[in-house]
Amino acid sequence: MRPIAPLGRRRVAVTAVDDVGAYRVLRVADRSGPLPAAGQFYMLATVQRWGGGGDERPYLPRAFSFLSAGDGELRFMFEDVGPGTHRLGELVAGDELWITGPLGAGFRPPGDHRRALLAGGGIGIPPLAAWASELGSRPLALLGFRDGEHAAGAALIEDQARVRVATDDGSLGHHGLVTELLAAELARDGRCVVYSCGPPRMLEAVRALCAEHDVPAQLALEAGMACGFGACYGCVVALRDGGYARLCVDGPVLDAERLQPLAEDAH
């Protein structure tokens, strides 16, 4: 059974704010929620002035995977990419958030004598960090970043996983795509389950690569969400059976084999 959210949104306080490279890490005190499972997420909105940003947004809450949880505290990580993350980026300790969660279904263990292999990057770190921590086995994590400033985010998972980094600009680690590291690793030893989270283009490459190598993969996907608890039917991804899955209740983690090739843009 996945952890179940307390009914409704609850008001929590920001306890600390840290910058890690290009990313912001928000700590919030959440004493009334259960311990979430890796890959689950929360809907977040500020109590004050959620709205009034660019084009009068944000209006809807925003989905964020938790980075770590424990001792009555949740950590989230994000980069300023739009009005919602911009507003969250203005928060200081003491400010208040509405949160709903934990929501959705997270990662499932590899089983089958397979090892867990984590692959992802950028803002995809949180579910992977949480999963590595839950596994406890210091799995290998292949992480791709745009540049050195973003690669600094790898620090957030280094305690839980053995990290190998790739950067687009070569400023750190492998100069190139994380999927190049993944291809090499799959070729070396394919007895694994790949756990992945990252930008759509990367996830699609991971999906295609794993399909090619016949390796099971669990992808933590993203989609625009209005509600996060199955109410709006907005957050769907196309399945191979012709239907759609709601990411917020059927995901956000889905088996790669159920999916159609993913659209490459933010859609």
Binding site: L7, G8, Y59, L60, C227, A231, C232, G234
Partner: protein, 297 residues
């Protein structure tokens, strides 16, 4: 207790069709949902005769003070609803209103008849206003076509029949009058306003379905005007909705003549918006602020 077409409801706040999935919400929140159910009656998402997968993503666009959806009425179809959903919805602690939509009179007749035959269903809401499906729009925008539809299906319904009107019309009150004259027991409004958004990165329409429907605070005052216009012309009860996010908004709709108020988009921001708004409304009414006896026009 409020009497709405013979249903006895605890308070005047229900949900807008398609804005709360009680089955999914129970998966997310567990049985706490049943203990503290936010609405005094539950309105199901629109059911069609055949199953529908819905529109391709993206299905959502965040607009100034609101959102546009192009969901495309995904549902299991009539049989799937009766077999799979209905037993679960019957476990809810409140009356069930089933929302249906068909693209022909015959389809609607089948839906109304099958749904109305089920004891679990307390009332039927007929969606003639969904902007995402061509026929829905057309029937609901024209008094004559709507009258013909209601005339044909009313005798088959067996349960109170609520007609959900489209706001995308010149004279919503004329349409409401047509529904009333053919025996509709209530009307509900507003559905979403036809709207569109372009992909900020280029390449045309953002929504997979092309166009969509605007909801949320942005449409609140449009809804209020339409509800007031309808209330002046019909005497059947009205379920009013559109941008309700607080007790005062619900109160405004009651003031202009609504019997019940539905909460839609606000549920997405606050899963317990229904209970919160019912409580806010109650304290406004206790404080003796403008009541439903007031004449707002």
């Amino acid at each position: 207790m409020i009497d709405f077409c013979g249903l006895q409801l605890d308070h005047p706040i229900v949900n807008g069709s398609g804005t709360f999935d009680a089955i999914a919400a129970r998966r997310a929140f567990g049985d706490a949902l049943l203990a503290d159910f936010p609405f005094s009656a539950f309105v199901s998402k629109t059911i069609t005769l055949a199953p529908r997968a819905g529109n391709p993503p993206p299905r959502l666009w965040e607009a100034p003070a609101g959102m546009i959806n192009s969901i495309g009425l995904p549902n299991r179809g009539l049989q799937g609803y009766l077999e799979h959903d209905l037993p679960q919805l019957a476990e809810l602690p409140v009356a069930l209103i089933t929302n249906v939509m068909g693209s022909t009179v015959d389809e609607v007749a089948q839906l109304v008849e099958a749904v109305g035959a089920r004891d679990e269903v307390a009332a039927i809401e007929l969606n003639v206003s969904c902007p995402n499906v061509e026929t829905g729009l057309d029937i609901g925008a024209d008094p004559l076509s709507l009258a013909a539809l209601v005339r044909a299906v009313r005798p088959l319904a067996r349960k109170p029949l609520i007609v959900k009107l489209t706001p995308n019309t010149a004279d919503v009150a004329a349409v409401a009058v047509a529904a009333e004259s053919e025996g509709a027991d209530a009307v509900s409004l507003v559905n979403t306003l036809r709207a569109m958004a372009l992909d900020p990165h280029g390449g045309g329409a953002w929504l997979g379905g092309g166009a969509g429907g605007l909801s949320g605070p942005a449409i609140r005052n449009v809804a209020l005007a339409q509800v007031a216009a309808v209330a002046r012309r019909v005497s059947i009860p009205i379920i009013a909705m559109g941008g309700v996010a607080a007790g005062s908004h619900a109160n405004d709709l009651l003031c202009v003549g609504a019997a019940l108020v539905a909460v839609g988009t606000e549920n997405f921001r606050d899963p317990c918006a229904g209970s919160r708004i019912a409580a806010e409304l109650k304290s406004l009414q206790i404080a003796g602020s403008p009541s439903s006896s007031m004449n707002a026009s």
